[in-house]
Amino acid sequence: MNFFKSKPWLTGILIGASIGLLIYWLNRDSDAVRQLKALERGPRTMREYQESEVEKIRYEMSEAGTKRIVGDLTFEQKLALLRDKWSKHIDKGYMQIKMLEEVMNLCKKERPDDWVACTNELVGAAFPQLGDKLFNQLSALVRYNDWLSRHKDKLDKMGRKDRQKLLNEMRGKLFGEENAKDIWANEIRVEAVRNTLDDMKEAKGKDLSTKLSALKTTLNEVFGDQAKAYVERHQQELTNAVMTAVQDDLKALTPTQQKHALRTIRSEMGMDKAALERWDALDNERQNRWATGKNYLAEREKLAANPGGNSEAALNELRQKYFGAEAEAIATEEAEGFYRYKGEQRIGLE
C-alpha cells in the first residue's frame, strides 16, 4: 500500500491502463467484423472454377418424399443451386440479403473461421455481375448484426416507435436509405398499416366508413397494385384488427346497426356473399352462446345465495343444464378462476 502511496504516478498509470483495457474489451471487434476487415484490407480474388462442371448433381428421395442431394456438394454444384434458387429476383435487395443469409449459414458450418470470405467467394462466383453490390450487402449485414447484438438490451427496453426509429436510422446508415427501404419493405408497409389501425382506435367521433376508407387508402398507398393480394392473404388478421380498433363504435350501435356494420367491415375486407352468409349464421350462434352464458351466470349467482347452492353437485347440475357437453370444460375454467361469459362480448370477435 505504502508503495503505491509513495508513487501516485504509478497508481494513475495502472488505473488508466485498466480503463483503457476495459474500453478496448468492450469495443473490440467481433469475430465476424474482424473477418470482414481482413477481407476489406486484402484483394478480393475470385475463386477459379470450371463452368462446365456446374449442374452435375445427383439426387435421392428423402424419407419425407422430397429430393435431396447425394454426397457432398462441390463448389460448382453450390453455384448451380444458388443460381437456380436466387437468380430470378437477385436484383432485389431483400432477395440478396436472404441469399447471403443462406450462404452465411452454410459457410459458418463449413469454414467457421473464415465464413465471411467463404460467403463472398460463393455469391461472387454465382453472380459475378453483382460481385461488388453483394460484397457491400455482406459488409453491411455483418456490421448490422454485430450492432444489433451489442445493442440488444437497449433495444429491448425501448418503446415500439422509438426502437423502430433507431433501427431505421442504423439500417439507413449501414445499407443506404433506399437499399434499406427495399430490404425491410414489408416491415415498413406493415408498420404503416399498424399505425393506421392505431389511429382508427383513437379517432373518436369519426364514422365507420371514414375509418375504413382511411385504412383502404393506407393499404393502397403502401402496397400499390399488390394491395388486393395482401388483403386477400391477410383477410382474417385485418378483419380482426379492424373489429378491435372499432370495438367501441360497434358497441354503441343497435343490434340491427351492428349487423350492418359487421357486414360492411367483412365485405370491405373482400369476403364474398357465401362467406357473409356463413358469418351471419356464426354471429347468431355466438349471440346465443353469450345469452346462454349470461343466463347461466345469473342463475349461478342466485344459486350461490341459497344455503348449499355453491356445492359442486349443484353447480355441476347447473352447468350441465346450460352447457351439456361443454359443462366439464366450463367447470375446469372456473376452477382456475376464469368465467367465460363474465365480461362483455367483443362484437365480431367472439
Binding site: E60, T66, A80, L81, D84
Partner: protein, 368 residues
C-alpha cells in the same frame, strides 16, 4: 426389374437443379399459427411468425414479381396468425384462439384446420382443439404441432414467481424476457406464469392452476386432433438470446434432462436434472423433458435445398402428457440446437425461419 425401378426412383441423376429447390407441398387445409407468451407483433418489437425482415413465413409468392414472401412454400398455401392475450392462462388464451380459428374457418369456408403453436401457444392450441371439437361435435383439427412448448412446465416460471435472485418483480421480469406488452390491459402476468408451472402454484388461492391440471383437461387425444407432433429445442448458455437474462446473466440454468414422475425436485417442471445444468438440456426457458407432446419431430437441414421434417422413431408417442417415459424426457434425439426465441422472428440469429416453416408445411401436407 422391380428392384431396379425402385433404385432408379430413389436415386435420380439430374442435371436440372430446379427440381431440388421446389416449394413445399400445399396442405389440404389451412395452417393456423398460435404465438407464445407475449407474442405477435410485439415480441420485443419483432414480427413473431416472420423472418428478420418482417415477412410472414406463411405468405406465399402468389403475385407477379413479388419478392417479400416465402418462396419455399406453395403459391396457393393458406395460413393465418392468431393474436391473443399476451399474458394469460392457456384456458383463457386457448378459448380465444378457438374463437379466432372458428372465425377464420368461417371466412375461408373450410371444415378442418391444422394448428402450429410456439411456446405457450403449444398449450393454447390443445385447448382450442378441444373447444372446436365441442362446438362442432366432431374432430376439427387434422395436425397439431408444438414448438419449444412447456407442456410439463418451466422452471423459469417458478423461479420468477418465487422472486429468486435477479428477480424483484414478476411483471418486470416477464417484460424483460418478452417485452412491454405485459403492461397493457387484459393481461394477467401471474395467471400466465402460473400456467407454466407444473403443479398448482398456490394451495391457498382457491384456484387450480398449472400445466399438470391443464394436461388432464386438455389431453393429447384422437378425439380432438388426428396427429400430434412436437419440436424440442435446446442451446447452451453462451449462445442464448440476451433477453433470456436469467440464464444469460448466470442467475439460473435449467437442468432439464432427467427423469422422474411429476415434479419430484419441485423446480416447477416435471422430471428432474441429471446433475449437469450446462449441457444441451434446455433452450433458456424450457427443459427438453417438458417439450415432447405426441411424436417428436426432427428438422433435417438440407444444404441449399429444401429442409424437411421427419418423425423421430426413437422416442415414441407421448399420449399421456403427465406420464412420459424416461426416454421421452431425457433423449437428446432430434433436439434443435436453437434457443427459445431463435425459432421465431427475433433477430439476430442464424436460423432460417422461412425454410423451417416451409418444411413444416410440407410435413403437414403429407399428413392432412
Amino acid at each position: 426389374m422391380r428392384k431396379l425401378s425402385t433404385i432408379s426412383l430413389l436415386v435420380l441423376a439430374l442435371t436440372a437443379p430446379a427440381m431440388v429447390s421446389a416449394a413445399a407441398a400445399k396442405t389440404t387445409y389451412p395452417v393456423v399459427f398460435a404465438h407464445g407468451m407475449a407474442g405477435f407483433d410485439d415480441l420485443l418489437g419483432y414480427d413473431y411468425w416472420g423472418d428478420d425482415y418482417g415477412v410472414f413465413v406463411g405468405d406465399p409468392c402468389d403475385a407477379l414479381l413479388e419478392v417479400t414472401c416465402n418462396g419455399n412454400i406453395n403459391s396457393g398455401q393458406k395460413a393465418f396468425q392468431t393474436q391473443t392475450y399476451p399474458f394469460q392462462s392457456s384456458e383463457v388464451r386457448g378459448l380465444d384462439v378457438a374463437n379466432q380459428v372458428e372465425a377464420y374457418m368461417t371466412s375461408q369456408g373450410v371444415s378442418y384446420i391444422n394448428l402450429v403453436g410456439h411456446s405457450q401457444g403449444g398449450l393454447d392450441i390443445r385447448k382450442a382443439a378441444k373447444v372446436l371439437y365441442q362446438r362442432k361435435g366432431r374432430q376439427v383439427v387434422k395436425v397439431l404441432i408444438s414448438i419449444s412448448s412447456p407442456h410439463r412446465g418451466s422452471p423459469v416460471a417458478k423461479y420468477i414467481l418465487d422472486l429468486k435472485p435477479g428477480v424483484t418483480n414478476v411483471v418486470a421480469a416477464l417484460a424483460t424476457i418478452f417485452g412491454n406488452s405485459i403492461y397493457r390491459s387484459g393481461n394477467d402476468a401471474f395467471a400466465g406464469a402460473k400456467q407454466l408451472v407444473y403443479n398448482d402454484y398456490s394451495a391457498t388461492d382457491g384456484l387450480t392452476t398449472g400445466a399438470k391440471a391443464f394436461n388432464v383437461n386438455n389431453p393429447v387425444s384422437a378425439t380432438y386432433a388426428a396427429y400430434y407432433g412436437s419440436f424440442v429445442t435446446a442451446q447452451t448458455g453462451v449462445s442464448v438470446n440476451p433477453a433470456l437474462f436469467i440464464l444469460r446473466n448466470g442467475f439460473f440454468n435449467i437442468d432439464g434432462d432427467g427423469y422422474c414422475i411429476d415434479d419430484c425436485d419441485n423446480d416447477g417442471a416435471a422430471g428432474k436434472g441429471d446433475g449437469t445444468a450446462t449441457d444441451l438440456d434446455d433452450d433458456g426457458l424450457v427443459g427438453i423433458n417438458s417439450q415432447q407432446m405426441g411424436y417428436r419431430l426432427k428438422h433435417n437441414s438440407c444444404t441449399l435445398c429444401l429442409d424437411y421434417i421427419t418423425q423421430d422413431s426413437t422416442t415414441g408417442n407421448v399420449t399421456n402428457l403427465n406420464a412420459p417415459t424416461s426416454t421421452q424426457m431425457t433423449s437428446a434425439s432430434s433436439v434443435i440446437n436453437q434457443d427459445h426465441l431463435d425459432v421465431v422472428g427475433v433477430p439476430p440469429d442464424t436460423f432460417d425461419e422461412m425454410e423451417f416453416y416451409a418444411a413444416i408445411f410440407n410435413f403437414i401436407a403429407a399428413k392432412d
